[in-house]
Amino acid sequence: MAETAPIVEMKKINKTFPGVKALSNVDFRLFRGEVHALMGQNGAGKSTLVKVLTGVYKQDSGAMLLNGKPIKPDSPLAAQKLGINTVYQEVNLCLNLSVAENIFIGKEPKRLGRIDWKSMNRKAEEVLERLNIRIDVTRTLASYSIAIQQMVAIARVLDSTAKVLILDEPTSSLDEHEVEQLFKVIRKLRDEGLAILFITHFLDQTYQISDRITVLKNGDFVGEFETSKLPKLELITKMLGKELSEFSYSAKSGQKREQGAVEQGKQSLLTARQFGLQGSIAPFDLELGQGEVLGLAGLLGSGRTEMARLLFGIDNADQGELFVKGKKSTINSPRGAMMAGIGYCTEDRKNEGIFAELSIRDNIILAVQARNGTFKYLSSKRKLEIADELIKVLGIKTPSSSSEARQLSGGNQQKVMLARWLATKPIVLILDEPTRGIDVGAKLEIMEQILNLGREGLGIIFISSEFEEVLRCSSKVAVLKDKVKIAELHGEEMTENQIMRTIAGGK
């Protein structure tokens, strides 16, 4: 990396939201031909900084330079015109349109006033070719994997004027292979001279792909580092501002707890026998005892979520049996599952979990109230008690329980969903990717909560793409592959290596 002039330079950026200082005197530099990772916990100011750069927000003070010239983008469109393009975490494309249409939507090549389909498809193929992807661009986007969709989103913003590419959590819904595919593309673009800003929560990926790291903490600029000269542990301490001894705490307690759970796990809470649904997940056996944490490990699309949906009654099994506390269950809806004492935190908080416009309090008490029915209405005092207690216990950061849920960060929304189910005092809790898209600190807190709940006798099914997390929390691990439960690992077998070997071996 030659120390030439940066393509983007942000100097002493300040931004205050009502009640929160989101950024204070943050400096940021981005060079041509580098991949720059922006790291920090939730609330560190990463998104705010990116939104200032892309014209979504206007900074209170501070200057932004592009190629040395001051810029003041007042909208994402203005930023795009300057060559600053963003691909967001949630892919904002139209699934029912073709790949080519998605790439050229709003800027379709025209001939005689009509869309020139032939040249559009050809150009789409060319753009994708640049990313080393060869697919049929006339098929609908929905027929491709999320990884391909992500790359289509990237292809969409790449044109001759693109100078800066911002990738916001691009890998959060990709499996390992897909991530590698994406990284190849990123490296290629970097070598072509693009400046790439990469935001992720995955530490390993940061080290795999980035040349330089900027760390933010609570809106403050911590520092800019060369990735190769910053050991992982040091990065974590910089992000957390915590000592290392605190960080390793939860791993240890996890192992301690594991032994206790085996003894404790006498009463069976959930037993599945050849439980399955054609086209969703192959019949599986499952046993979950009191105080046990069953981890579901597998790559994306391996059937983890499908298993959870079946157990929670979202999908209905067409074979096998399910027993709750030894009794045969007839659960055929989420409501039925809830009544039986099962809770489910979905992996898709935005579409299946959070009620954005309802208050945090209502979001939390909704499931309890649904169980109580319409007429046993919780008094506002009782609602406040339940909500405030859980907000305190889970450490949800909000000025008040009457704020709207959409104002919360991802990690806090996740905790709100956890709170919703804890309020129902379930016997079994299914957590589908509860740590997805949230920062390291919140991840640790949530895993700590999971372990605590296990200690209190709850049966927990824990789904995560990160094997390390699964291992840290679980007392046993079920391994899934291609919609089949292929193995269950106990005790000493529970290592990342063993999981990967199991998946690779495809027993």
């Binding site: 409501r335 579409n351 954005a356 319409t374 046993k376």
Partner: protein, 340 residues
């Protein structure tokens, strides 16, 4: 400015301002608009007419508010009004001496039950079959008039049973009886949805139906319920309409009411995107619609352009209620101040 912000952020503040604006306009430009006289112990005047004529729309708007809160719509209510009127008229019968064929209470109950059934039909299509609400209710929007025609044998039935006239023409303590129906229905609906968890469930279903289902809410039954309730309200509204003119006309009873009622709900601050709803706002919205209609008549707008005038005023009011538009206006002003 703090008081202003806290007041102007209240949801029915802007609908209320819109209504006030209309009334102030009338105060200056429509002679005798606010004159209220006492005749035969009743109050007479434009303002009283607004309450009386607006009652059927207000009743419909109460039911529609809940439907719209679930991100649905019910365009069949106008036709269901005609069904209600038709059923009640046939059961009471057109005896010239005013002797009802069946007890009047019985006729009214049956008419409302039929309308609840119509609402359940809508609710079934939306919640069980998963039809889009506008299409599902389009069926009864069309078929309802047909059903009304069949019940009245395609004739306009005139009623002479005096007691039935109370609903639409009667006065209690000087005020139209129908306005008491509105108030009672509003209070009951508010209590039922805000003193129970129903209101929260309805809003939850409107904001995120999938999440509502996953949180254990029986979203299907909530949907079924709100459409049935909308049918119930249309039934009551139909009784008032029938009683006001003492006749049932399958072709014209409640014609176009669905649009006025939807307009009332939207003017009242409930978004067509579902979620938070405001029953009082909807009543104010209905008052705006009715005041506007009355103003246009009282002011003497030529009938050929009256609809255009109405549309322009409604357009202006929608702009007034859009916070985006308001901040644009405010922004324009502050910029000017800065440049001076």
């Amino acid at each position: 400015m703090a008081w202003w912000r806290s007041i102007s952020s209240k949801k029915f503040f802007w609908p209320f301002i819109a209504l006030l604006f209309l009334l102030v306009f009338n105060l200056f430009f429509t002679p005798h608009f606010f004159r209220v006289e006492v005749k035969e112990g009743h109050l007479y005047g434009n303002v009283i007419d607004i309450l009386k004529n607006g009652a059927p729309i207000m009743i419909l708007a109460i039911g529609l508010t809940l439907v719209i809160a679930t991100k649905g719509i019910d365009i069949s209510v106008g036709s269901v009004v005609a069904v209600s009127a038709g059923v009640v008229a046939m059961l009471i019968g057109g005896d010239l001496h005013g002797v009802p064929k069946n007890p009047i209470w019985y006729a009214m109950v049956v008419a409302v039950l039929v309308c609840i059934a119509a609402g359940l039909w809508n609710g079934m299509l939306v919640s069980r079959i998963g039809m889009q609400p506008i299409i599902a209710t389009l069926i009864l929007f069309v078929a309802g008039r047909g059903i009304a025609m069949v019940t009245t044998n395609a004739m306009v039935v005139w009623l002479y049973a005096k007691p039935f006239a109370l609903l639409g023409q009667g006065y209690v303590f000087g005020l139209p009886f129908s306005i008491y129906i509105v108030v009672v229905l509003l209070i009951i609906t508010t209590l039922f949805t805000r003193r129970t968890a129903m209101g929260m469930f309805i809003e939850a279903v409107g904001i995120n139906p999938k999440a509502a289902r996953f949180a254990g809410i029986n979203a299907k039954n909530i949907l079924l319920g709100v459409y049935a309730f909308s049918g119930f309200c249309a039934g009551i509204s139909g009784l008032v309409v029938c009683s006001t003119v003492m006749s049932a006309d399958g072709n014209n009873a409640g014609l176009g009411y669905e649009l006025d009622a939807i307009l009332a709900v939207v003017l009242g601050g409930t978004s067509l995107n579902g979620g938070k709803y405001y029953l009082v706002g909807s009543i104010i919205g209905a008052l705006i619609v009715e005041t506007l209609t009355t103003t246009i008549y009282a002011f003497g707008v030529p009938p050929e352009i009256s609809r255009v005038v109405k549309a322009i005023v409604v357009w202006g009011m929608c702009l007034l209620q859009s916070s985006k538009f308001r901040s644009m206006i405010a922004g324009a002003f502050t910029k000017k101040e800065l440049s001076v």
